[in-house]
Symmetry: C2
Subunit: 440 residues, 2 copies
């Protein structure tokens, strides 16, 4: 079966030996025979680029380690470079150098791809090398390959997912244990599920990078991170969580990429949403990820699994390494699924959704009618109105009430006009909050 | 983007123009520009092999139709043959001829692949052509490609799924509407979800073919349909459905492929099972399919979507057609992921599971202890014992009772010994029924 074959091994270099990198190194070093059977050629790990040589790394020959990452990727004899250091620089320059020197690249770097997928894909295609990145979105869940290949004969209309485990854990805690955002975040940090600086997760930036990658792949176009509409979960109130529950919904941070109805542009957005418990994404709890795909012919598909963690991410990376190595062995590569349409990202105002709007009013006769009139004057029709009285001591004729209004589907631009008008109305007695609704 | 390019188009022949074939023809004929963008070369549908020329086929030029299928696949200039006629012969001979004449093959034919995947893969590999079959298992759900590529750097330990929509619909009706099997089948037939002769579905043969394909792919070995342990849903009683419900379970027809603990052989089986409502497969209702994959590094993954139907199946077929055509354009093909291990299928007796055993007893003092002793003497320990009295008029000391016993996990061979002994015991007053349990 090729064992003991005289053909030269394929040379792999690894950049980064952190949580994922050390697992990838372990698999390559410990499973040479299995990998050879699957690839048809032996894999040789020729070097591991690290920042610090002094960290003890069990099971890894120190002679493999180098701090000269640029020297490693410019050797000129590499078949595959696996980039697992993350961040934009020096990862970007190293990947470019690897491609220029004829190596195929496997990366899990969502931040890099969200900015540079287009240019890197074109560079790889020109050099005839592969660029694979299954691990960059939703960890071990195979989503890149299905979008790039399985559904390539179909027309995808929407990709929607829970792609950030940290925020999903925090929202779960808020819904299930009735914690405030701050308390849930503190718990997630104590357990190591959230970082000391949680900004990238809780403000939605991490999910937005993944949304950009998914949108580009699904719609054969180029979308960068800064084009993604992005709203985090920090402002969510306990009142909104309770209202969602009353309406049979839970709250999730969703990343959505959607073709507009004329298929001419795309909506790409990350925001918290009230998700009906009837929707399959509502049941995806804890640190799991899930991606929901809607396409013209295949209908609804859903993919669920571990969205992060060393071993799951390493599984996705190794799937790419084996595929790229097989292509290399057969002397074929460079089909990187580059974008061929130019669908611009539409402004969020063109997005259509249902909305949940909540605020306090002074409960005078006629106030509800005046609220409804604000929605009506902008052509937004109401689906559910919740009214609850607050515990304040007030006079009988002027006690404050909390209104929660769910609209029918409408354009976000119209809803913005409603919100502006409500914010200036004299009968509105608090901040006006809005949350998007899915699957209701 | 290559529109108006002078490079020769890729020639495609289609075998079959039924529910799926007509949809595939429609996509190829109606979307030439989109397909050309995705493939990098134009696709030309050169012929459609059918049984009967007289059937009216909207939107298809009659000049494309032929009843000489053998002549069509032996033209010698075909790039891709799409086989959608189903069944073993003549599909088998036609696919072989297509491969011999240098065409890559896309097929949705699970019956053929369950018997001949190994030999056909080897033939394709020898000829340097592709053999793709995403649509053969679970319709539009991308499962073949994830198993063949995404998880190829990992070690899959188990694949378990609901892969037959007809039986899933019938079982749903039995659970939700408390129908008998016969009544639920009649309803499924009336709605067109079950065929007039439902044998292939309700006896599990269709699921067994898919289990053979999944097992071979997941464990890099060859498994044929007749090696799959197969038990259908026809014998399921309303009492078992009610007992499952009491235990927080539903009943599903599961197809399972599992590596034995020493990874030396595989268990491949199709049978109804009580599935805990906590297990993600329990929520997969109606005609949907779902596949659950467990692997060493990636952990648990689940894929859910439409398991059948013309358009969803056509989506999977077209994904393969585009992939195969891309390979063809680049002059590369023939990596068909042939088996390289030789893991035999272990007898069902070596399978380990929890079991639910039910039967009637004459409720004399000491009978429960005697029942328990039968299990204990074979080393099978009990987890739950349900006892319920029947409505018969009986004397006070000898009224019949129904016992339902769920065991802890044990080898099926041991359970078989328990069943044999119970069937001969004088205190057992009815047929002894057994159902396997999952996720409890």
């Amino acid at each position: 079966m090729g064992r003991g074959s005289v053909s030269k091994p394929l040379k792999v270099a690894l950049l980064g030996a952190g949580v994922v990198g050390s697992q990838v190194a372990r698999i390559i070093l410990n499973e040479p025979d299995t990998l050879e059977q699957r690839i048809g050629r032996r894999l040789e790990l020729v070097g591991i680029g690290v920042r610090n040589l002094d960290v003890p790394r069990e099971g890894i020959d120190p002679a493999l380690l180098t701090t000269d990452l640029d020297g490693l990727v410019s050797r000129g004899d590499l078949d595959v470079v696996v980039e697992l250091i993350g961040g934009i620089e020096p990862a970007h320059a190293l990947v470019q150098t690897a491609i220029e020197h004829g190596a195929s690249v496997v990366t899990a770097n969502k931040a890099l791809l969200a900015d540079e997928l287009g240019p890197l894909s074109r560079a790889a295609q020109e050099k005839g090398v592969d660029l694979y990145y299954e691990a960059a979105v939703a960890g071990a869940i195979p989503i890149i390959r299905p979008l790039r290949e399985s559904l390539v004969g179909d027309e995808i209309t929407e990709v929607m997912g829970i792609v950030n485990g940290t925020t999903n854990y925090i929202l779960d805690k808020m819904v299930t244990d009735h914690l405030s955002f701050d308390a849930a975040l503190a718990e997630a940090q104590a357990l190591g599920y959230a970082e000391a600086d949680p900004t990238a997760d809780v403000e939605g930036h991490d999910a937005a990078a993944k949304a950009a990658i998914l949108a580009g792949l699904a719609f054969h176009t180029e979308v960068t991170r800064d084009e993604v509409f992005c709203e985090g979960i920090t402002g969510i109130t306990e009142a909104e969580i309770a209202a969602a529950d009353q309406l049979g919904c839970t709250v999730k941070l969703l990343a959505t990429a959607k073709l507009t109805s004329d298929a001419g542009s795309v909506i790409v957005k990350v925001h918290p949403a009230m998700v009906s418990r009837k929707h399959p994404l509502a049941a995806v709890s804890g640190a799991r990820n899930a991606i929901f795909v809607n396409s013209r012919e295949a209908g609804e598909l859903m993919f669920v699994g571990a969205g992060a963690g060393g071993a799951p991410t390493a599984s996705a990376v190794m799937g790419d390494v084996v595929t790229v190595a097989r292509n290399r062995r057969r002397g074929t590569a460079g089909h990187v699924g580059a974008a061929y349409t130019h669908r611009p990202v539409a402004p969020i105002g063109e997005s259509t959704a249902q909305f949940y709007v909540s605020f306090e009013v002074v409960d005078r006769p006629g106030v509800l009618a005046r609220c409804a009139a604000v929605f009506g004057s902008h052509g937004v029709s109401l689906r559910v109105v919740q009214q609850s009285y607050l515990d304040d001591e007030s006079s009988a004729e002027e006690h404050p009430a909390r209104l929660g209004i769910m609209t029918h589907a409408t354009q976000e631009a119209r809803l913005s006009q409603v919100l502006s008008e409500l914010r200036e109305a004299d009968f509105v007695g608090s901040q006006v909050r809005m949350m998007r609704v899915e699957g209701f």
